[in-house]
């Protein structure tokens, strides 16, 4: 009880700017992971894993399976400590973290996107071809509009997972909210105030991301319907 009575929340205010800056780094990593990894790399991987060329399809599928079946923490420390031993390339903690996250999210979303395109009924492709549509028109007018509707809800849903995953990258001394909180706590000896504030910030930001995703999904459904 004494510990709770002795709480001094002023530490949260005096370190508030640092914590918010940490949250910004977390959100920046989320953005990079989601846009570059999820949408960008994910689309490329989905296209490669549906390719008719084995030389594209097999490496893409192997990459997706391997990256989905290993922990992000191991990927991140591998990227930072083992990768330079292979290549001689040195990356900063933030770069290593961002690369690991992009590859990780890319593998996840690649699978989501591939499954979405696969879920478009075969008859749609066949009908398009039977009508003599060129491949470009077939994809842009027939297949993709249907695939996007299937893919967007799970893709947007994965944004919250990306956000949560960024906290793992703090092990590489990336100055995200998690690491800033750990450092402030170590400096002030006030773990209860600092970690509770950080958890509350994470929870609120996470709720906002979830709500934004749900709103976007609703808006899209209205737009397409």
């Amino acid at each position: 009880m004494t510990a709770l009575q002795a709480l001094d929340w002023s530490v949260v205010w005096s370190y508030g700017p640092s914590l918010l800056q940490g949250l910004l780094v977390s959100l920046a990593l989320t953005g990079i992971g989601f846009v570059v990894g999820g949408v960008g790399l994910g689309t490329l991987l989905a296209a490669a894993s549906r390719s008719r060329r084995r030389l594209l399809r097999w490496p893409a599928r192997a990459f997706v399976e391997f990256w989905r079946s290993t922990p992000l923490l191991v990927q991140a420390i591998w990227m930072h400590f083992a990768f330079p031993m292979l290549t001689g390339l040195r990356t900063t903690p933030f770069e290593s973290a961002a690369i690991a996250l992009v590859l990780n999210v890319g593998a996840y979303c690649g699978e989501i996107i591939r499954a979405g395109v696969d879920a478009v009924p075969r008859g749609q492709f066949e009908a398009g071809r039977a009508l003599g549509l060129r491949p470009g028109v077939l994809w842009s007018r027939v297949v993709l509009p249907q695939a996007v509707r299937i893919v967007v809800p799970p893709l947007v849903g994965s944004a919250i997972s990306v956000f949560k995953a960024t906290a793992i990258l703090s092990v590489l001394s990336v100055n995200d909210l998690m690491r800033v909180a750990a450092r402030v706590s170590a400096n002030t000896y006030q773990p209860i105030e600092v970690y509770t504030a950080a958890a509350a910030l994470y929870f609120m930001a996470g709720l906002l991301i979830t709500a934004a995703g749900a709103g976007m999904e609703r808006g899209m459904r209205r737009g397409v319907a």
Binding site: L73, F81, M85, K164
Partner: protein, 218 residues
């Protein structure tokens, strides 16, 4: 330089002990998670409005907040608040157990709600008591539907056990990281455990997909 597999062979016992600890953490968190998940799911589906809302809030909190901050909170704040000594392993297992409970509660709920209403109504019409209705009619069907997401969550849980390394639990990833530091050969150890995690997780992920495919055809 190159890749020196000899290092992995030499440190095999330490890596194996780490793997054992990873599996033990997974199992313990799973047990806590099943109990917590069943309780949360019961509250979520109950007739009590307060219970439903409280369970919904708890589930949302544990699914939205990163595991890492929860872990640090359990390890650094709980001892301060209670005055009790909290070992890192206990803090880690309980935290993962609670997070698992929140995810399992949603899997359980989805599985139960996916059952056709007629099953429950028919069992009631036959006069089956509540226990028999759940034991013989509802749960066997619901469990079959839950198997793929449960397997899938198992893979997430194994991956999440690596977070315990951040509070100093000597599971597989921390041991490999420390061995890498001692020998200055991160490449061998980190690659070895990456393959190890893959061997552990990939079959579960395949099984989950196979079960799901079979169900959607049936």
């Amino acid at each position: 330089m190159g890749f020196q597999p000899r290092l992995i062979v030499q440190n095999w016992p330490a890596l194996l002990a780490g793997l054992g600890e990873t599996l033990a953490i997974t199992l313990a968190a799973l047990l806590i998670g099943v109990a917590v998940g069943a309780a949360l799911c019961t509250a979520r589906l109950s007739g009590l409005r307060g219970g439903r809302q409280a369970a919904g809030g708890v589930i949302a909190f544990f699914r939205t907040t990163p595991e890492m901050i929860l872990l640090f909170w359990a390890y650094f704040c709980v001892p301060e608040i209670t005055g009790a000594n909290v070992p890192a392993l206990a803090a880690g297992v309980v935290t993962l157990g609670l997070v698992t409970g929140a995810y399992l509660a949603e899997i359980f709920r989805a599985g139960i709600q996916a059952l056709p209403r007629g099953q429950n109504e028919a069992a009631r019409a036959l006069g089956l008591p509540a226990f028999a209705r759940w034991r013989c009619v509802l749960l066997p069907q619901a469990l079959r539907g839950m198997a793929p997401p449960l397997m899938n969550y198992f893979t997430e849980l194994v991956k999440n056990t690596t977070l315990l390394s951040a509070i100093g639990v000597s599971e597989l990833s921390l041991r490999a990281y420390l061995l890498g530091g001692q020998t200055f050969r991160y490449l061998e150890f980190l690659t070895a455990i990456a393959v190890g995690y893959f061997v552990l997780i990939f079959p579960a992920s395949l099984l989950s997909r196979r079960l799901e495919a079979r169900q959607s055809h049936a």
